[in-house]
Every structure is written in structure tokens, then in C-alpha cells.
């Protein structure tokens, strides 16, 4: 009996918090038929918004993956002054509101900011353009790979790596042949979470992008813009595509998860 009660609570909670809103969005999108949704999606501005989101994601995810792995190895395997600080700072993007991140980028790259003058002199547009949006997205999606990899690295210990070294493997060979295969599921999990976070980023990008339609408007910004313009069908349709991409990413994660005993 208790078993069922527990399941009921878990499923009811999921249903209320996750499934219901998603279901409503689905329902609303296709309320006026598939054609209406398709029409809302195929405007040049919307297509551009999706493209922009994908470009930003494609830049941010690899960078944060490499950085996350390096950070995790530094945190777990190395001893250096300031290690505790690094460990704490990695979590900062989770604690900080994305709006604050956006504002801080303004202060850094604005005309009077620390780096702003440098970029202006070299005629590089950072704010209200792709660079700032990429930086903001990298910032908010920074912790996921490191946070996934750190516990796995701790768990596997460093004996296998030491064994590889005594067998003549260089640092890089040890990483590629021993460490990476041991942490690959953690990396993949981290990459998927990072991707999901990049696709869904709203706050920081909203602040520094300037939201110029067809130029600096990402998919999430586009949803809000459509909503504000009373184009509910359009807003729902874009939202549904974003949701579908996220679900696809999550499904992918379930599919690639290791079978027990082979990892």
C-alpha cells in the first residue's frame, strides 16, 4: 500500500508541475490545426531566431565541455592554492540570477566598461550582438559538465591513472585512454544538461541582446515577443518546438545511458 502511495505522490507532483503545463501548450498549439502552427513557425524572423539559438548553443556547449573537464580534473586531481575558490566559483552561475549576469556584461562591455573601450577601438560589436549573447550563455551553462564529472572522477580514484603512467603512458595518453572512457557518461550527461540550459536561456540574453527581430532574437526571446504581440498561436508553436528539442535531448540521454555492468 505504501509503495503505491509513494508512486502516487511522485507521479501527481510530476503531473501537476511538469506534464500539465506542457500538455496545455501542446493543446493550444494544435487547437487551430497543424497548418496554423506551421505558418507561425515558418516566418523568417522565427527561423532566424531558431538558427541563432542553435549557433549560440553550438559555440557554448563545446567550450563549456572542454572547460568543465579541465576544471573537474583540476579540482579533483590537483592541489593548488585557490582550489576551494575555484570549486565555489564554478557554482556561481547556478546561484546568480541570469539578469544579474546580463547587467554585469553591460558593465564590462559597455562603452565605458572595462573591456568596452578596447572592443570599440577595434570596431568589434559585442553588446547587442552575437559575442555578448554567446558569453552570457556560456556563463549561465558553465557548471553542468564540471558538476557531473567531479563526483565520477572522485569515485574512480587515481589508481588507474597511476597504473597507466607506470606503464609508460604520457599525460595525454592517460587522459584519452583511461580517464576519458571512465568519465564519458558523466561528460555526456553534462553536455546534455548544458545543451538544455543553452537552448532555454532567457534572462541574461534578454538583457544584453537588445532583442532586435531577425538579428539578435533567440527562440526564447521570440516566444515572449510573439506573446506580447498577442500572437498566442505563434508563441505556443515556438515554445512547443523548444520543448520538443529539449525532450529529444533528454530521450537521447536515456538512450545513450550505459547498460549496467559494461561501464
Amino acid at each position: 500500500m505504501r509503495r503505491y502511495a509513494l508512486r502516487f505522490v511522485a507521479l501527481a507532483y510530476l503531473a501537476a508541475i511538469l506534464i500539465a503545463p506542457l500538455g496545455v501548450v501542446f493543446y493550444r498549439t494544435f487547437q487551430d490545426g497543424f497548418a496554423a502552427a506551421w505558418e507561425a513557425l515558418s516566418t523568417p524572423e522565427t527561423i532566424h531566431a531558431f538558427k541563432l539559438t542553435l549557433i549560440i548553443t553550438a559555440i557554448a556547449v563545446p567550450l563549456n565541455t572542454v572547460f568543465g573537464i579541465i576544471c573537474a580534473i583540476a579540482i579533483v586531481r590537483r592541489r593548488f592554492p585557490g582550489k576551494g575558490l575555484l570549486n565555489a566559483f564554478i557554482d556561481l552561475p547556478l546561484a546568480l540570477s541570469p539578469v544579474v549576469v546580463g547587467l554585469s556584461l553591460f558593465l564590462l562591455y559597455g562603452r565605458t566598461g572595462w573591456f568596452g573601450g578596447f572592443f570599440e577601438r577595434h570596431d568589434i560589436q559585442v553588446l547587442f550582438a552575437l559575442p555578448a549573447m554567446v558569453i552570457a550563455t556560456i556563463f549561465v551553462s558553465l557548471p553542468f559538465v564540471a558538476r557531473e564529472v567531479v563526483p565520477t572522477l572522485r569515485e574512480i580514484g587515481d589508481e588507474q591513472e597511476q597504473a597507466a603512467r607506470t606503464l609508460g603512458a604520457s599525460g595525454w595518453q592517460t587522459f584519452r585512454r583511461i580517464t576519458l572512457p571512465s568519465i564519458r557518461w558523466a561528460v555526456i550527461y553534462g553536455v546534455i544538461l548544458t545543451t538544455a540550459r543553452c537552448l532555454g536561456e532567457y534572462g541574461a540574453v534578454a538583457v544584453i541582446s537588445g532583442r532586435i527581430q531577425g538579428q539578435t532574437e533567440t527562440a526564447t526571446l521570440r516566444v515572449e515577443e510573439r506573446y506580447d504581440s498577442f500572437d498566442l498561436a505563434g508563441a505556443y508553436a515556438i515554445a512547443i518546438v523548444l520543448a520538443l528539442i529539449a525532450i529529444a535531448v533528454l530521450l537521447l540521454m536515456t538512450l545513450v545511458k550505459p547498460r549496467e555492468g559494461t561501464a
Binding site: 574512480i156 597511476q162 603512467r165 607506470t166 606503464l167 609508460g168 604520457s170 571512465s182
Partner: protein, 319 residues
Amino acid sequence: MSIHVRNVSKNFGDFPALQGVSVDVAGGSLTALLGPSGSGKSTLLRIIAGLETPDLGEIIISGEDATGVRVQDRNVGFVFQHYAAFKHRTVRDNIAFGLKVRKRPKAEIREKVDELLRLVQLEAFGHRYPAQLSGGQRQRMALARALAPNPEVLLLDEPFGALDARVRAELRDWLRRLHEEVHVTTIFVTHDQAEAMDVASQIVVMNHGRVEQVGDPTQLYDEPASEFVMQFVGEANRLGDRWVRPHDLDLSPDPAPGAVEAQIERITRYGFDARIELVTADGSELLVQVTRERLEELELRPGQIVGVVALNERTFAGR
């Protein structure tokens, strides 16, 4: 392939793990580093391997200063207590690892791995993963892996520590036989004096980061250089400032003059001999080892007061 350790010191924070340690290991020999935990024996082994760097002193392998040589260039085979098996690789791939990173030709690798699988009697297990092996099999795999690149030196850190008693005894015999076949200079770390005596031709006894004594098993047992070696290698009784081995004590039912009086606490019979635990009047414990015949002759029983006579004793200069 001799190894010379010269005045090596190593601190971990405030803890002096090694204090001016010098050890010479002849090429082709089988040496045990024996000591209690915290004695520095594993640290010394890891410094020889290059897994730790000494604060002071040097390591000379085959006549060349290896102190600054990186682990991967030292050409040592290392076997870890908990195997350090590459979990995501098969037994074959584990053994082949050292050859693959050296970019040896495929055919040569295959041949060498086959040979080693035979040597460690794992021919039938080449395609298994470490998780599918028993502890003893995993450790044999780790040994084959360490031997694959033809190391100048084989180092084993408590190699049998994680195994049960029967497998441990088997692997001990097997290591000794392997050493006779392969002749690579071998050093292994153990805290088990019986294991050290059983396997090694030379034993280095360590305590508190220093070498207490170096010698063959007979020397250590018969001529211990210190109280520590006396009680750590083999069993020993303390009678005032004298030390006596349990088999160098005899008992008499009627305490003779000069004998120490003690009460029998417990009598345990092992195959050929019996061990008698006693407590003296001042409360110190004694262990006496007599043959079974002697035990029956004396008709001893627990609770009895007997006289203890030392047949052979030694004293050590105070340190």
C-alpha cells in the same frame, strides 16, 4: 638492474614519512619492504616508481640517476594493492596497454599478450572484463600487465593484501616461482612478516620512516638488530630487559630457583606444537611454544602455576 636508494627523505605536511633512508637492492633479487602501517614502506616503493618525488636524496636504477626521471620513462612495472585494473578494458587490453602506448607492432603485441596470459594462467579469460574476475585473477592480470613492457624493475605494493588467506598463500608461491622464471629485480611491500619471510631473499625492515635492519630471513630472525625487529619479525616475549622467542622458553611444574613464576591462562594445540599463554605475577603476558610431546609429558592445565626458564635470550642496547 640494481636499485640504490640514497638518503631519501619525504614529508607529507608535518608527517615525516621517510627520514634519510638508504637501501641497496641487487639486480635480479627479490626484496621485501616489511613494516607496520605508517612505517614508510609504501612511500619508499612509490618514490622508486616515480609516483612520488623525494624531498631529499636520490634513486639510482641500473647505475643511472632516476630521481628526476618521469614515471612513464622509468620503465618500472607497478602492481597496486587494489589491482588498479582498467575497468572498461578487457583482460587482453589491460595487458596490452603498456605495449600499445609504446606503439609496438600489432603482431608483436598479440604474441606478447598470449605469452603473458599463459604465464599468469588466464588464457581462457582474455576477453573478460576485470569485474568478471576473482580477486586473485585480477591481481594476476595486473602482474601480467606490469610485466608486458619488459620492465627493469617490478614493484608490488601490498599485492596480496586484499585477498583471502588461501589465495594469498597460492599467489605467494606463484610469485616466487614467477621470479625464478622471469628474473626481473622485484621489490614488494608487505606488513606480513610471514609473507616477507616466505617469499623474499632479502628483507628490509622499516619503522617510523627509517630502515631498522636489512638481511635475509634467517638473519632477521636469529640476529635481530633491535627490539623492534625482534618483536616484529617472529614472536617474542619480554622478560624484564631480556627478549626471548616463544620456543626458547621451557616450563617446569615445580618452579626451580631462578625461574619466573607464571600462571597458565590458555593452551592451544596446533598440529605439531602447542602454544601456552601465561601471565606472570607482575601481570605481563608470556607466550611459550612447546612440542606436543613436551606438553603431554608436563601434564599442564590452565590455572596451574609453573616456572618459566629461558633457554636462549638476548638484550638490546637502549635506544
